[in-house]
């Protein structure tokens, strides 16, 4: 049986260059990734981090592939909510130029069965990539509804 993974495809009316830039730029990600920043120099083997600003948590990893504007890959290790005990997973983006749009594919794999991280990213990626699409096409960004619930819960605690 193959290990669990998450695969998602979305089409964006933009260029591979713009999308690749958005996926790798800290300031742009802060816009569409609801306050979270991707931080890296993008050197192969070098560090990658996703700073979850709103919640004061983070994800660390290592850059595996940096091939603008076609492929981007990094390992993904959430350091919060008990997920640090799981081994790092792997994120791979593939950008395919079509006539008037780009097909963006993400494969997030390398999870152990029962992974909590898999549950979280399966909910998160459609949101993040939908927001990225809105950001590049319509100049709008989306807001993750679950952050409100979590903040409210913390506030009530």
């Amino acid at each position: 049986m193959s290990k669990p993974e998450f695969v998602y495809v979305i089409y964006i009316a933009s260029t591979p260059e713009k999308i690749f830039k958005a996926l790798t730029d800290a300031n742009m990600s802060e816009q569409y990734w609801d306050g979270n920043r991707v931080v890296s120099d993008w050197k192969i083997g070098g560090p990658f981090a996703l700073e979850l600003k709103r919640q004061d948590k983070h994800v660390t990893g290592k850059v595996l592939e940096f091939d603008p504007p076609r492929r981007l890959a990094y390992t993904f290790h959430p350091r919060h909510d008990g997920m640090e005990a799981e081994p790092p997973s792997r994120v791979t983006f593939e950008l395919e130029q079509q006539k008037d749009q780009v097909r963006l594919t993400i494969v997030h794999d390398g999870f152990e069965p029962g992974s909590r991280a898999l549950e979280g990213i399966s909910r998160g990626w459609p949101f993040v990539l939908s927001s990225l699409k809105s950001y590049l096409e319509a100049g709008k960004v989306l807001h993750a509804p679950w952050y409100d619930t979590e903040s409210a819960q913390r506030g009530a605690a």
Binding site: Y11, S130, S134, H143
Partner: protein, 170 residues
Amino acid sequence: MNIDKFKPAIVYAIYIASTPEKVWEALTTAEFSKKYFSALAVEAELKVGGAFIARAPDGSVHISGEVIECNPPRRLTITWNVNWPALVEKLGVTLVTYEIEPAGDAVRLTLTQAHDRPIDDDILSGGRQGWPAILSSLKSLLETGQALVIKMAPPQRMLEALKRLGIGTP
């Protein structure tokens, strides 16, 4: 028909900066569907038991089905039968559910395609390829006023698998 027998085979979620009412309208009217859904005109009688049709530009019926669940603007379940000879006989009915939930100022649209028996991955590959394109185009239409025009190669794997089963394809 017992919808509890149906299990999800394809699930796709996308977030759209729009209202549930607008997304519902886009999913159920020809004015919108012709723009994002491969030029098909959706004609839906929005009540349980009502007819649901997707008509090609030449007037022929490409998809026909029946409304199973109808809770506007939140949930719509339809039988979704592509009009190819022997398809339903060999594969059973296909059930499509659109679920529309508020998500902050936006909407989360979740598409579920379900079947009452295991379906070969080669056959599911058609939907796995098609739905992200259709729903990405719907999102662009509602957010920017322009649908995407995504030219896709015919889903060869799916067409060959259907042919092996004796299902007539164009």
